[in-house]
Symmetry: C2
């Protein structure tokens, strides 16, 4: 059976086409994500100590953590998702996304390495960040910065390897811009903003500590 | 001309063998590194404000920064180093190192992406860390942690991609353990130790700031 991916000569024996439509796949992900955000927003609102920006950050960390753990975790450990006949939603997601980047179906080592690290390290760490913010832990900023740097590094490796290999993995310009560019853009913009914020917070804390030490002297 | 790398069927047209011996290549790198460490140790010793551990860290950042910028920077932007006929030392380094990991000569996209990021971002940032420690800047810890996380992430991608592709890129077990394992081990152990140290320092500073805020209330 032929596959819908580019390059056309990619060999994917026993490929099984999508059972679900693009709109169904996106709707399930969108609605599930909105539910998570809504839940975290409501729960975090019950504490008057948590600022609005921290509540938004909790929503982001819950959303991105569950995406890393469930979606990317499934991909990292399912080399044969494109053969799935059961209609499993997670396999459907990656069959669909591979139209924007066939390296997923082709099991490119760079993509699997980045997705594996993201799922195994950044997934649980993101959920820990939700708790760290809620409880006002002292490691909250540094944890958020560490995960965001990991996300940025992973996204950089992801884009650079594709560029070096000729940027030829999308089935059409539509899939290139909708999946490869737009879907990944959030993981460039939001981690960058979080990095800048945490960097400033940490610097001011360290500066204060330095001033205190000088005073003690 | 045949090449000394594994896998044997790797196609490297116009390959030119090493001009320098292994001991010469290693001696130049070793002596140059020791000179850098010696210079930074002496210069940093002229200030009584810099602690011994910070002086060692300055030596590390100068050594690793120059390694990233010069050695890895050359590799990242020299796709044809294995054809070099001039006896250029930097080309000799990578011709030699490719015996431990032929993906360098083969221009593997994952390796080039990681080395490119390391050279362009972590190289200059490491040299900035030398200055940041010397001047006691408030961003010193967070900068060191950010670079160390980048080094760890890069090394993880480096090892995982090789594992996923069958771990079959060393010319012999000797080169595997001497180059691929031992030479990279420093960039696992030292960044890990620096991460732990900076994490603790930052947490205690943030905690102190939190306590101060609570008192003000």
């Amino acid at each position: 059976m032929s596959h819908p991916y580019t390059p056309r000569d990619l060999n994917l024996e026993d490929y099984v086409p999508n059972f679900l439509s693009q709109s169904t796949i996106l709707a399930v992900y969108g609605i599930a994500s909105l539910l998570v955000v809504f839940l975290i927003w409501v729960l975090s609102g019950r504490s008057s100590k948590i600022s609005k920006i921290d509540r938004w950050l909790m929503c982001w960390w819950a959303f991105t953590g569950l995406t890393h753990l469930i979606l990317e975790g499934y991909f990292a450990f399912s080399p044969e998702f494109y053969k799935d006949k059961s209609g499993c939603y997670l396999a459907e997601v990656w069959k669909e996304y591979s139209k924007g980047d066939s390296r997923y179906a082709a099991r490119d080592a760079g993509v699997v390495a980045v997705e594996g690290l993201t799922a195994v390290l950044e997934g649980p760490a993101s959920l820990l960040a939700v708790i760290a913010i809620a409880k006002g832990k002292s490691y909250s900023y540094i944890l958020q910065l560490a995960i965001s740097l990991g996300q940025l590094y992973g996204t950089a490796v992801y884009f650079i390897t594709s560029y070096l290999e000729g940027d030829k993995f999308a089935a059409s310009p539509y899939y290139y811009y909708a999946y490869y560019v737009a879907a990944n853009a959030s993981w460039v913009v939001i981690p960058s903003l979080i990095c800048i914020r945490c960097w400033k917070k940490i610097c001011s804390a360290v500066q204060l500590q330095g001033q205190k030490k000088t005073k003690v002297r």
